[in-house]
Each structure stands twice: as C-alpha cells, then as structure tokens.
C-alpha cells in the first residue's frame, strides 16, 4: 500500500493536480482538486478526500442517531436529530403493521421531550429521514447525561474500530451511547461521567492532532489536567 499524504486545508485550497479520484469534500476543476471544507486532506492511491473538521449533520441510511421527540401526529412522531431536517418515526414501525390510531395512543409510548436512540432507515435529498427503533438497544433512552459535539468529530470519538470509545469506557466505568449526529449519552457513576465529559471535550478540541490518543490516555489516568 502506498503511503497517505496529509495536509491541512481550507475551502478553495488546491490539494493536488493530476489524475486522481475525488472521494469526498473535493471538487475538480480542470484536473485541479480543491477542498470544499476546512479539514485534513488525504491523498492516497484510492484518491483524494478531505476529512472535515466542522459542518452540519447530514443523515445517512443505517446511521444510529439520538434524537428528541418534538411533536407527534396520529401516525408518526417528529424527532429533532440535530440536523437540518426533522426525522419521522412512523407509528407503524413501532406498533406493528396493523397499527390503528384508534387503538394505540402515540404519547403513551413516546411523549414530547423523550430522547430516543434510533436508526435512519430511509433518506434522500427529496424527503426527510425516516427512523426505526427495531433493533437491539434501540428505543427510548431512560437515563444518562447528554452532551453535544460537532457531528464532524464523531468518527474521531469512535476511533479506529472503536478504540477511542473503548479506552474512555473502560477508564471511566461508563457506557457511551454515540449518535452519528453528534449527540452522546454517558451512563455511569457521577465521577466517571465527569471524566468522560472532559475526555469527550478534549476529543472535540484536539480532533485534528495525531497525539490525541496519547493525550486522552494521560487525561484518563489522571496525569494531565484539562
């Protein structure tokens, strides 16, 4: 495998010229590749991509998200998923195929203000995302401390194959529920929650640094103050 070249870029900055494949957050103008977001540009044998460091959450099918119920109608709940679109959770997917609004009452299941952990089942640019709570661990979130980070920083918080999240979880005795939309729930003992919050804030502010994992480990072991 050829090595990957990285550099910091701002929108409009020329990343490379030549015959590459644009992967993400890149535009091509006459063989020149320009970044369209602030982030880390990566040039590899696969092509060019920019890992953004800021930006809104754009839903993707199969994403797990944490959302807040903001409204309901006779047939669905409206959920705020920290995105530019509201998501819908159809009552049929919760109560089953033969759901009838006369028999079941929606607010008894989820009322306004409830947090739910759900999966995006359909989304395209013409329609708002539709959620589902069928799946292991999905549904109403009963307890936990909620914090928000920039959606662009979520992959960094998860780490390679979940390494970062595992490190934080084992050091703080907490369980982290991460929504791809940048909403995170921490469940565990109070001092663990505090430490995990500090760690997550550190991931957010140092997401672009190569030394992040080391810094997090020293924070968690108590040898470094924030």
């Amino acid at each position: 495998m050829s090595e990957v070249k990285r550099k910091y870029v701002t929108p409009g900055e020329l990343i490379a010229t030549g015959n590459y494949r644009p992967i993400s957050n890149v535009i091509k103008v006459n063989d020149n590749f320009y970044a369209i977001k602030i982030g880390l540009a990566e040039i590899s044998h696969e092509g060019i991509r920019v890992i953004p460091l800021s930006g809104p959450y754009i839903p993707k099918v199969d994403d797990l998200v944490i959302g807040k119920v903001v409204d309901y109608s006779a047939f669905s709940w409206e959920v705020d998923i920290n995105s530019c679109f509201f998501a819908y959770l159809p009552a049929q997917s919760v109560f089953g195929r033969n759901f009838s609004p006369d028999r079941e009452s929606l607010p008894e299941r989820f009322s306004i203000g409830d947090l739910i952990y759900a999966k995006v089942v359909t989304y395209d640019r013409t329609r708002n995302p539709i959620l589902s709570i069928s799946g292991h661990g999905l549904g109403r979130v009963p307890k936990g401390e909620m914090i928000k980070i920039g959606p662009a920083k979520v992959p960094r918080l998860i780490g390679k194959k979940g390494s970062m999240i595992k490190t934080i979880e084992s050091a703080t005795n907490c369980r982290l529920i991460i929504g791809q939309n940048g909403i995170i729930l921490i469940v565990g003992p109070p001092d663990g929650v505090l430490l995990a919050t500090q760690a997550i804030r550190m991931v957010e502010s140092e997401a672009h640094l190569a030394s992040l994992m080391k810094d997090i480990q020293s924070l968690l072991s108590g040898s470094r103050e924030v």
């Binding site: 990285r6 550099k7 910091y8 701002t10 929108p11 409009g12 900055e13 020329l14 957050n25 535009i27 103008v29 320009y34 369209i36 977001k37 602030i38 880390l40 990566e42 890992i51 953004p52 460091l53 800021s54 930006g55 809104p56 754009i58 530019c84 679109f85 509201f86 640019r125 013409t126 920039g150 662009a152 960094r156 780490g159 390679k160 390494s163 140092e206 672009h208 640094l209 190569a210 030394s211 992040l212 994992m213």
Partner: protein, 241 residues
Amino acid sequence: MVELINEKGLRIDGRGVDELRPLRIEVGVLKNADGSSYIEMGKNKIVAAVYGPKEVHPKHLALPDRSVLRCRYHMAPFSVDVRKPPQPSRREIEISKVIREALEPALILEEYPRTAINIYLEVLQADGGSRCAGITASAVALADAGISMRDMVVACAAGKVAGQVVIDLDDTEDKEGDADLPIAIMPNLNQVTLLQLDGIMAPEEFEKAFNMAVSACHRIYEVQRGALIDKYFGKGEAGEE
C-alpha cells in the same frame, strides 16, 4: 476641502496608495452560532454569524433542489457619528442583497436542499468599505460553519482619490474621492463575484484600479486563511489514527 493625498504621496491616514488598512480576523467568536467571525479592517468592526443549514421558515420559501441563502447586513445605531435608526434602511437592504449575491457563487447550495442558510452581519463601527469587510468576514464564518464552498470569497475596494488610483478607501476618501470600485473575488478560482462602481474613471484607470484591488484581495485572503488555520490547527501535527 481636505487634502486627500499630500505632496509626499501619503493619504489622509498616512498610508501609501497601494497599502491596506490594518486587518485582523478572528474565527468562532460566537458560541451560539454555527459559524462566526469578527473582522477589524481599519476602524471597521464587524461581527458575522452563520446559522444553518436549517429548516426554512416560512416553509413556502424552501426550494426543492437547493438551499436558500439569506443575508442581513445591519449597522448598529452607535456605529456611526450620528445615531443611525436601528431599522433596516434602503442602503442596508441593498447591501444585504449585494453581499448575498457575492457569496452565492462560492457556496455549493445544492448540497443542502429544502434548507436555509442565514448570515447576519452586524457592523459595530463603520469606516468606509464595510460591505467589503462584511463579505470577507462572512466567507470566514461560512467556512467555520462547515458549509461546502467552491472557494473563499474576499473583497476589497479600489478607487480614485485626488486623481490617483488607491486601494481600500476609508470613509473620508469614499465621500470626498472621485470614484469607488468595490470588488469581490474567489481567489483560487480567479473569478469575480462582485463589481460595483460609484463615480467616474477612465478605462485605463479602471483597469489599474481593478488589478490593484485583485492583488489586495489576494493579500486579504492570506489573512483569512491564517485566521482559519489558527482556529482549527492552532497547535500540533496533522494526523488521523
């Protein structure tokens, strides 16, 4: 009548003809906005805030294939010598439109269909060339908000003062001078997104002024870029594990 350029060739505030006012840009000054910036260009002080993309209200304004860009340029009542009434004036409404149209070509609005992106520009202190400073600040705030952009947008004015072509006019030069030519460009793509001219210039003067303004824009772009790099990559080496 004030002497706009003295016998040494210096302007009213002591600058040379091809010299910018002191410039400072800060990124992420407002916690509640999705993206924000603060610019000081000479005595201009402007805060830019970007909200969005988010759902459009009223809903009928939403476009099915792209985002709606909205811009509000507003001068604080205390931004000028004589109190300015706070409601949007004819001039502010026009400048809002001009700024919006200068930024639109740089944004990839098709990426956010059925949404709105709002830009708020608050002029805290005005000293001529505030539309240019506003455009420069908005572009930084948009980049901070993480909205996809083909390029940054930078703006700078050139003009004719006491028969000479100069750049980055201040308030006195703007009022007493012969012509004012604000332009905005996308510096990497080399495209013009705003070009206005108030006053009279000979064709060769126009060409000179235009070229001087473009090169000034490139200098301002470096400051813009530096401000963003500072905020996002302030310390340490690049890396992703």
